[in-house]
């Protein structure tokens, strides 16, 4: 490489990099202030580009006039998204992802409807062409874009640090509640962030369009670039976004130089996966678990009716070809492909993660199947199986990268997966046929049954895929594996504490889902007989499952089947003929409308919801004895545990020993570190200092599900039963996964455990329908069901009726006599008096006193804590 090439490539890279940084700054602004990942950000960038193209290149308005108009349009776009997000319930991150994905689809659909799919190139601006500087041939538009990008970033930085409005924006992003308490109307601040973010996007789009061609779906790449840079910069200042942008620009420029222009986007997509692989924190700090939180309230409809309905629909579909004309059957084949896809999407969704890119799996399956037949000589059926296998092969690394955190990683990665695979297909022309596509894919035939025409075979193949998935989903609802998946979706932390490995459950769901989607892709390839990227990676494969899930009930297979059939028929019979270019916009609009009208809850569920709280029933008497196969106890020893949060020592040098049969009480004022100590012992979080050993084995870093299987069980201060499962299922799940019992043994023992805590009568109720006190009992029963050797109880008696409290304390005594060690946290000494002979007192992260409850009431250290003279040493 000559020095001139090197220099001009570097300058071009820095130029585009600065532009990337600018567009990422817009995304970061809305994310930080309004806590919204705007997946339509790139489409606002494209809006700015189209503005320049139409107003400048086509209609010839002067450039200086076009720039502010475009920026204004982008700002307005941002404001519309803001208005739609306002009604979203907390926690917003996941809902906002689905909503802005809907916006992205709508905008792309509108661009397609108004301006068609043609590639548009902005020409004739004064800023394009070659620029010669000291023997170097520099691309003028990149130099200009870069300079303006850096300049705008600088201005944005000054605005945020020097102006009153900027300080308020930063304050709101730092602590929205704190800002509201000082009279800041945070919704207006969020509007300002969306206005600014949209305007910045469109402004960046103006320069983006001087460099790259425009087409309706061109916004995907800038969105991904924005996400990558935002994640790279973390919560850091804008300067870090700029640095990351320059780095990405340089990498892209040199990669393009080496590989060719058609590989340009590879760097951005690759960077997204690299960032996801490298980072260990979710995108929304302090938001905990957006995906799980978001979908928590949903539970698929169960019972006989949905099962019968599913079976009825499947039977009708099985018989349908006998009476329907070929044309309709052909249509139904397409509908079944979508139904199967929606159901496969649901498999993943039930475990929690949301995919915005199931088209990637369909496309992959279609191409693998087609190339296996055409290039390797496989038979069609073999090829479809290979396609399914390829789904599993892709899912495992993808899941390993994106599912270690329960955040929106998979959603973001799946967004990039579609263009990435499309890019590969386009570039690997000798194998895939590139943009020309593949022709002559053989149809599906049944060996030995020559009389069955291929279309009929394809119909039944699609029906088999959809039907078997539906039946599998029905089975999941009534099996331990399905309850485990539901538990992971509802509350991964609690699931982890009953012995389920959430990451593995999610990975399994992704693998099954991807395999089915790829199989369906294979069937698609053989039923269409030809393939090209636009067909295999159709946007509808990604979008429709979301629409179906949102419309068709919280994941009941019957709802999804019905919605898929009706949506597809509506689309093919009415929408496509009547509005050939508008159907994408219509789908986007439907998803948006549903999200705005019934945010977070599928329409069917809203229509059918008739939830009532049950009156609490008092059950007198002592607990029935239970015979649990308890695990063998041994000493649990904590040595010098320490953990800080935000610079505050939550737990500071705490040591304690729990021996089999011991019952230890732990109390202390609010925020003294009691719950954090339990977290450290149960594995919910890990200490920075110190060690936890269990029978001599160091378990300091072991995950909760492993500790649970060894014999550590816990309950939570804020009750966390699996609300979407019945009370009995909560207990059976814990018996199987935590207690390591066979399903049959678990079924027999479950009622005994429930009788012991006094919930026998509520066994078939959903846990979420019970009163808070009863939910606490469910959680207690679930902890017992893991057959523990150690019970860690966090305020287990709070909110219980006196009778229930006596029962719980009786059970604790009973278990303790059987050799279980108990660590019981309570906020007042009074409660501990009844169950514990020895109590530890914590304050400000340290153990400050210990002894018998009656002695402690007189203990000066204890009194000092509660009467407010403690720790007031001169400082």
């Amino acid at each position: 490489m000559s020095p001139e090439t090197f220099l001009s490539t570097a300058v071009a890279g820095l130029g585009t990099g600065a532009l990337y940084a600018l567009l990422a700054a817009g995304l970061a602004l809305t994310l930080r202030v309004a806590r919204t990942v705007n997946l339509a950000h790139g489409d606002l960038v494209v809006l700015g580009g189209y503005g320049v193209f139409w107003l400048g290149t086509v209609f010839g308005y002067p450039f200086w006039l076009v720039v502010p108009v475009c920026a204004l349009a982008g700002g307005l776009g941002g404001a519309v998204i803001w208005a739609a997000t306002r009604r979203l319930p907390e926690p917003r991150p996941l809902y906002s992802l689905v909503l802005t994905f809907g916006f992205s689809m709508l905008l792309q659909g509108l661009y397609l409807a108004w301006w068609r799919a043609d590639y548009r190139l902005v020409t004739g601006t004064p800023l394009q062409g070659g620029l010669r500087v000291a023997d170097l041939n520099l691309p003028a538009e990149r130099v200009v874009a870069g300079t303006l990008g850096l300049l705008s970033l600088g201005l944005l930085h000054l605005f945020l640090t020097r102006t009153c409005a900027g300080v308020i924006l930063r304050a709101t992003s730092s602590d929205p509640v704190g800002a509201a308490l000082l009279g800041v109307r945070t919704h207006r601040v969020e509007l300002a962030a969306f206005l600014a973010g949209g305007a910045v996007a469109a402004f960046a789009g103006i320069w983006y369009s001087l460099i790259y061609v425009l087409y309706p779906a061109a916004g995907v790449t800038p969105t991904i670039i924005g996400l990558v840079l935002t994640m790279l910069a973390g919560q850091g200042p804008l300067g870090r976004v700029a640095l990351a942008g320059l780095g990405l620009g340089l990498a892209e420029a040199f990669a393009t130089l080496l590989l060719g222009l058609s590989w340009r986007e590879l760097v951005a997509y690759g960077a997204l996966f690299a960032v996801l692989l490298a980072r260990s924190r979710p995108l929304h700090p302090g938001q905990g678990d957006p995906v799980a939180d978001g979908w928590r309230r949903e539970s698929p409809p169960r019972g006989l009716l949905p099962t019968l309905l599913t079976c009825l629909i499947l039977t009708l579909l099985l018989l349908a070809p006998a009476i329907l004309p070929g044309y309709i059957r052909q249509l139904l084949t397409g509908a079944l492909i979508f139904a199967g896809l929606g159901l496969s999407w649901l498999v993943l969704r039930w475990a929690g993660p949301v995919s915005f890119g199931h088209a990637a799996f369909v496309g992959l399956g279609a191409y693998i199947s087609a190339t296996a037949v055409l290039r390797l000589g496989f038979s069609p059926w073999q090829a479809i199986l290979v396609a399914g296998l390829s789904g599993a092969v892709l899912a495992v690394p993808l899941g390993a990268i994106t599912l270690k955190l329960s955040g929106p990683d998979l959603a973001l990665a799946s967004l990039a997966l579609v263009p990435l695979l499309k890019l590969l297909v386009l570039n690997l022309e000798p194998i895939t046929g590139g943009s020309q596509g593949l022709v002559g894919i053989p149809p599906l035939t049944l060996p030995g049954l020559d009389g069955v025409p291929p279309p009929l075979t394809e119909y039944y193949a699609a029906l088999a895929a959809a039907g078997l998935t539906a039946i599998g989903l029905l089975w999941l609802q009534h099996s331990a594996a399905g309850w485990a998946i539901a538990a992971v979706r509802e509350d991964p932390v609690a699931a982890d504490h009953v012995g389920i490995n959430p990451a593995r459950a999610r990975l399994l769901a992704l693998t099954v889902s991807a395999t089915i989607a790829c199989l369906i892709g294979g069937i698609l390839a053989h039923s269409t007989r030809y393939l090209e990227p636009g067909l295999a990676f159709d946007y509808r494969f990604s979008l429709l499952p979301l629409v179906m899930a949102q419309l068709g009930g919280a994941g009941g297979p019957a709802g999804t089947l019905l919605t898929a059939l009706s949506l597809y028929l509506l689309s093919e019979l009415i929408l496509a003929p009547a509005l050939p270019y508008t159907h994408q916009a219509v789908y986007g609009l439907v998803l948006l409308g549903v999200m705005v009208i019934t945010p977070g809850r599928p329409v069917v569920e809203v229509l059918l919801s008739r939830r009532q709280l049950l009156p609490a029933k008092e059950l007198p008497g002592e607990p029935a004895p239970i015979r649990l196969p308890l695990k063998a106890g041994t000493d649990l020893i904590c040595k010098g545990l320490g953990r800080r949060f935000d610079g505050l020592l939550a737990v500071d040098d705490v040591s304690l020993t729990l021996s089999p049969g011991n019952t230890l009480g732990l109390t202390g004022p609010n925020g003294s570190g009691k719950t954090t100590l339990l977290d450290l012992i149960s594995g919910a979080c890990q200490p920075e200092r110190g060690q936890v050993t269990w029978g001599g084995r160091d378990i300091t870093t072991a995950p909760p599900h492993r500790r649970c299987r060894w014999g550590l069980a816990r309950t939570f201060q804020v009750v966390r039963p699996f609300r979407g499962l019945t009370v009995r299922e909560n207990v059976r799940l814990a018996l199987i996964y935590g207690g390591r019992l066979k399903p049959a043994a678990a079924a027999a023992l479950a009622d005994e455990v429930l009788a012991a805590v006094g919930l026998r009568a509520q066994a078939d109720r959903l846990a979420g329908e019970l009163s808070l006190g009863q939910q606490r009992l469910v959680e207690f029963a679930r902890a017992l069901a893991t057959c523990p050797a150690v019970l860690l109880l966090d305020e287990v008696s709070a909110g219980l009726s006196p009778a229930a409290r006596r029962r719980v304390i009786g059970l604790i005594r009973q278990l303790s006599a059987a050799g279980v060690s108990v660590l019981q946290v309570e906020h007042s000494l009074r409660v501990l008096r009844e169950s514990c002979g020895h109590v530890l007192v914590m304050n400000r992260g340290r153990l400050i006193a210990s002894g018998a409850p009656d002695d402690l009431a007189e203990d000066p250290a204890m009194l000092a804590v509660y009467l407010g003279t403690e720790g007031e040493e001169a400082s």
Partner: protein
């Protein structure tokens, strides 16, 4: 003009979270320049009461009146704009912003904006440490300094009523003394202060009147001297 006898009043306020009622029909009043203490064991509903008054949670029943105007339906920003400032337990400082920026946002409400520079002068005189560290990021301050910044930021809003939740948590004796002196001088200028918390002696020393909550209800109310003689507090705690 007739003096206002009651600045803040709660009439049978009930509030809670997720359908569980924590606070049950609690009534209270606070007059101008008064320091009202709220005591009670953990989980008694002290924080819930303050949150309901500040608009962070909407009461499920009852009425809250600030200078005669009902505020129970308002959000936190609107309540703050009417002169009621809540300094929560977690402080909610803007940790990435400097001390001076934190204080400036304190004066964001219209009633305080015009007095920004004058208030800043007063604050820096009252708490010299903030003046010295005005360009430091809030996260760099010590725990005691952060608590002082939270109070000072609240004062920048020129509040009519100041709500403090467990303000003495984690403070050393020197800082706590300074804090109490500041609170007394603030209420001497007519600001009503409601202070809840665990530090019973501190609050009994400071308050003119005390409400003791237990299990979401007021169990005792009256001047601190009456409470000190009885053993009701100890009975509640242990």
């Amino acid at each position: 003009m007739r003096p206002e006898p009651v600045i803040l009043e709660g009439r049978q306020v009930s509030a809670g979270y997720y359908g569980q009622v924590v606070l049950q029909e609690v009534s209270f009043t606070a007059g101008p320049g008064e320091i009202v203490g709220v005591l009670g064991p953990n989980g008694a509903g002290k924080t819930t009461l303050l949150k309901a008054v500040a608009g962070l949670i909407r009461p499920v029943g009852g009425r809250i009146l600030l200078r005669g105007e009902e505020i129970q339906h308002l959000g936190p920003a609107e309540v703050a704009r009417r002169g009621l400032v809540y300094i929560p337990e977690g402080r909610h400082l803007f940790l990435d912003l400097t001390v001076a920026e934190n204080l400036r946002i304190g004066a964001h409400v219209p009633r305080a904006r015009a007095y920004l520079n004058r208030s800043l002068g007063v604050i820096y005189r009252l708490f010299p440490v903030l003046g010295q560290r005005q360009h430091a990021q809030a996260r760099e301050l010590s725990g005691g300094q952060q608590q002082i910044l939270a109070l000072a930021r609240g004062l920048m809003a020129r509040p009519v009523v100041l709500l403090l939740d467990d303000p003495f948590a984690g403070l050393g004796r020197g800082v706590a003394d300074q804090f109490c002196r500041a609170l007394r001088s603030i209420c001497a200028e007519g600001t009503t202060i409601i202070v809840a918390g665990q530090h019973v002696n501190r609050i009994l020393d400071l308050a003119n009147r005390v409400y003791v909550l237990n299990a979401g209800r007021v169990v005792v109310a009256g001047p601190p001297a009456e409470l000190r003689t009885g053993d009701i507090l100890a009975r509640l705690l242990f």
